[in-house]
């Protein structure tokens, strides 16, 4: 799992499965930065066709690439901006991206068969709001080093399996 702040910096990353291959810290940062850029691009290439559902774009990034609410208009409603990439699926894993209205992105790498990723996302967001944002000594946009967040996240996920 990763959290990326609104400037594209990696502020949290953690593995929940032992035995996953590790990358170097630098690679994680590059991954976060790259994803941030790709996400921004997918946002801008959302088709603006009048009265037709936007066609899905290239092979890898499929369903999340459209903004459902705007599909009937020739230009997206300014109040409902396009959403950018939401899922990315390969044979072996699925990447889910959840962007909050404030611009923070949560990335979750899961087995493609894992269900109810949305529920997990919402819970992670709630825990983040509680134990990270409400911690008065956490500085906004900085890497997350909150033990309580780690603990509660771990406990909650263990409770699910």
């Amino acid at each position: 799992m990763r959290i990326i702040n609104k400037a594209g910096g990696l502020i949290y990353q953690r593995e929940f499965q032992p035995g996953l291959r590790k990358l170097s810290t630098n690679d994680y940062l590059v991954l976060a930065g790259t994803f941030h850029g790709v996400h921004a691009i997918t946002r801008t290439i959302t088709p603006k066709l009048p009265l037709a559902p936007p066609s899905t774009s290239p092979a890898v990034s499929s369903p999340g690439n459209t903004a459902p609410a705007t599909s009937g208009y020739s230009y997206p409603n300014p109040g409902v901006p396009t959403s950018g990439l939401e899922f990315l699926e390969t044979d072996k894993f699925r990447l889910t991206c959840f962007q909050t209205l404030t611009g923070t992105k949560f990335l979750l790498f899961t087995d493609p068969l894992t269900g109810s990723v949305d529920t997990i996302m919402n819970k992670i967001y709630e825990l983040y709001a509680d134990y990270v944002m409400k911690n008065p000594f956490y500085q906004l946009e900085m890497p997350v080093r909150c033990e309580a967040f780690d603990r509660h996240l771990g406990a909650w996920l263990r409770g699910r399996t």
């Binding site: 946002r43 209205l101 404030t102 919402n122 967001y125």
Partner: protein, 188 residues
């Protein structure tokens, strides 16, 4: 989203944990201490309260979004309803009235029938506090901070307060602009 739906979300998401009077007392203590620290320079106290609120707002917004699960507002009118009926309801359990819209829909007033921060409060009678101190000014900051995080730049200030002997407590909120934090337009 309709106003009634907003009030329902506000009702359902509300959580109570801490004793309200403790909050009132804590906030009162902070204001009193600030007044002392700044030698009753009430302009400065207002400013500090606003700043504190701003910092709170920037954090509180995540909690608001995570717990209420609401989506983006389509326009500023919806935002106003959301603030009054969901935001204030969740965090202070009051629902101020949204009113006095300007014709361009960029400014509105929040009228507070009750204000939990100001229970038990009497402003000092040094002849200036009544005219200069906005006791609940922290709320203006909270709105500014939280809306800034969802790409809206606003300005908020109190125009009247029952503590000063006015008939109502009214906060004026004006939208300055929507912040575009997208990538800069491509050069091609």
């Amino acid at each position: 989203m309709s106003a009634t739906k907003a009030s329902r979300i506000g009702e359902e998401t509300r959580i109570d944990k801490v004793n309200a009077e403790l909050v009132t007392l804590t906030y009162g203590t902070i204001v009193a201490q600030l007044c002392q620290d700044y030698d009753s320079d009430y302009q400065e106290v207002n400013k500090q309260l606003e700043k504190m609120g701003y910092n709170i707002g920037m954090r509180l917004i995540e909690d608001f979004l995570a717990k209420s699960g609401v989506g983006r507002c389509a326009n500023f009118r919806e935002t106003a309803d959301m603030i009054a009926k969901v935001g204030f309801k969740i965090f202070l359990n009051v629902a101020p009235t949204v009113t006095n819209w300007t014709s361009d829909n960029n400014q509105f007033s929040l009228i507070f029938d009750e204000n939990p921060l100001a229970d038990f409060v009497e402003l000092p009678d040094d002849g200036r506090a009544q005219d200069e101190l906005w006791f609940s000014n922290i709320l203006c900051g909270v709105l500014r901070g939280s809306l800034e995080m969802v790409q809206m730049q606003i300005e908020a200030h109190f125009v009247s307060d029952v503590l000063r002997g006015d008939d109502t407590t009214e906060m004026r909120v004006s939208l300055i602009r929507y912040i575009e934090d997208e990538m800069p337009p491509e050069e091609d």
